[in-house]
């Protein structure tokens, strides 16, 4: 049974993994249309979390966002590189060296892409009001994870390069932070409001699922990446079973507590401590 969880465990140790670049057919769909950055905060936002406020701030990413959007369609030819950013900047009429806005070239490009995807995910979660939907938490997690993984589908051929860039030591800290934010957002919008150890286990599980999904997509040969979506569904089912098992464990804990208390009373009765205490009160 442990063997089924080994791939998941291996992923924890191999965070943004390295895979060989495999030639794949180009996927047609382009990324999001050019949105303005001045997205006003959702009026019914219940939480005042830091990331929600960041989403609503408009000015700072203007030029950066324009260059980013212009460079995205060129990723297929030029990869996640400085050259791609240069070409993107040129195509919207800025000077070539304005790629310098992205400090570390390709790495910053991928970093910004991830940040943008996370922002899109938060927007989707709020617009579709996933939090208030009737389904259970794991179904919502599944839904949000699929949405997020689908955002990298258009760039799948070059995705191994992106993953390698994020796995480099000097950008690994940023990668961890992005992954943490993604896991936190997914759990929060799926309705998790726990404030104890399960906070950590849930986010770890979601982070692991995301990485597994990403790795699976990158080497998936099936049509429409069906194998990966099926694998994701199976992992969610596994989590459901683990949850049920955990629930049954805590129920048994109650029984164990009762047994402990009654055996203590029995011992006190047998040794006469019970009546001694009652008489001496």
């Amino acid at each position: 049974m442990l063997a089924r969880y080994l791939p998941l465990l291996q992923c924890y140790g191999n965070i943004m993994g390295r895979t060989t670049i495999i030639a794949r057919p180009l996927l047609a769909s382009n990324f999001s249309t050019n949105r303005t950055t001045s997205q006003d905060a959702n009026a019914s936002a219940q939480s005042e979390g830091r990331r929600e406020e960041q989403d609503s701030s408009s000015k700072e990413d203007d030029v950066k966002f324009k260059i980013f959007n212009a460079a995205l369609p060129l990723v297929h030819q030029l990869g996640w590189t400085k050259e791609c950013l240069e070409a993107g900047a040129e195509s919207i009429g800025l000077s070539k060296s304005s790629h310098g806005i992205f400090e570390h070239g390709g790495t910053s490009f991928v970093h910004f892409f991830h940040r943008n995807c996370n922002k899109e995910l938060r927007k989707i979660a709020k617009d579709e009001q996933i939090e208030s939907a009737k389904s259970d938490e794991l179904t919502k997690v599944h839904q949000l994870l699929e949405q997020r993984l689908q955002m990298i589908l258009p760039y799948l051929p070059q995705w191994p390069q992106a993953m390698a860039l994020m796995a480099r030591p000097h950008s690994s800290l940023d990668s961890y932070k992005l992954l943490y934010e993604l896991a936190d957002d997914i759990c929060f919008f799926a309705g998790d409001r726990s404030l104890n150890a399960t906070w950590y286990t849930k986010r770890a599980a979601v982070a692991g699922l995301y990485i597994t999904g990403e790795l699976s997509l990158v080497q998936d040969k099936s049509a429409n990446c069906d194998e990966s979506w099926r694998m994701l569904a199976r992992r969610i089912d596994d989590l459901r079973k683990v949850e049920e098992f955990g629930g049954s464990c805590s129920r048994q804990q109650e029984i164990l507590k009762d047994i402990a208390q009654s055996s203590l009373t029995l011992i006190r009765n047998l040794t006469g401590m019970q009546s001694y205490q009652r008489n001496s009160r």
Binding site: R50, E60, S97, G100, H111, L195, W199, Q277
Partner: protein, 232 residues
């Protein structure tokens, strides 16, 4: 020069000439190096997620830490009273009083639960540890006797009141209006913890065996716990 103009000048002039307000073109790395004036802007506007967050966060990392430790503290207090009740229930005159104090702690925890969810603060990773340690402290002090249980209460509440007062001072120094809600919550909890402290003294805590030593040890433990839970 306004920020947008600075941006445009930076990207437009950068590669051909050195713009006084913009920066210089670095031939070795084929990239732009901002002049000190714009570097200040860049640090706040162009920079990575981290810098943006620090500038624009609703409440700062420090206040996050405060909420985290307060939540952990109320959770610990709950567990201490649970431990005391587990030993003293039905066997002591003060059982009803301890139950009442426990109920008030449950309310405090609820207040901080809501604040934590509202600001999406990460709870402390040591929760399982406080779950056990709090119960053991409560049960251990209660086993030594009712007055020892009161002494434990007095020591813990004294640490907590001092800690809350520190937090209130920090928040008031920073920005009382912005932190009004959090300050109100801490004030309410602090006042009730002070009540518990005084109740404990009334019920003869100081007559407990080794009162001074016990309270000293518990206060040191509380200080360590507070320091840990702020960060971890």
């Amino acid at each position: 020069m306004c920020y947008e103009q600075a941006q445009l000048k930076f990207v437009h002039y950068g590669c051909v000439r050195t713009c006084v307000e913009g920066g210089s073109f670095q031939h070795e790395t084929m990239s732009l190096r901002l002049s000190p004036a714009l570097r200040h802007l860049r640090a706040n506007k162009f920079a990575c997620n981290n810098c943006l967050r620090k500038k624009h966060t609703k409440i700062s990392d420090e206040v996050h830490g405060m909420l985290r430790v307060d939540h952990a503290g109320e959770f610990g207090a709950n567990r201490i009273y649970a431990g005391q009740m587990a030993v003293l229930a039905g066997r002591s005159k003060s059982a009803a009083l301890i139950q009442h104090m426990w109920d008030q702690e449950k309310e405090h925890k609820k207040i901080f639960d809501d604040l934590m969810v509202k600001h999406r603060v990460r709870p402390t990773a040591l929760m399982p540890f406080w779950h056990i340690a709090g119960f053991l402290l409560g049960a251990g002090s209660a086993v030594l006797g009712e007055k020892s249980a009161m002494a434990c209460t007095v020591a813990v509440e004294a640490s907590i009141v001092e800690h809350y007062n520190d937090q209130l001072r920090k928040l008031a120094n920073d920005n009382p209006e912005k932190h009004a809600e959090i300050m109100a919550a801490i004030k309410k909890c602090r006042d009730e913890e002070q009540e518990h402290h005084d109740t404990g003294l009334d019920k003869g805590a100081e007559q407990a065996f080794l009162y001074k030593a016990m309270t000293a040890v518990i206060k040191v433990g509380c200080k360590a716990a507070i320091a840990l839970s702020t960060k971890v």
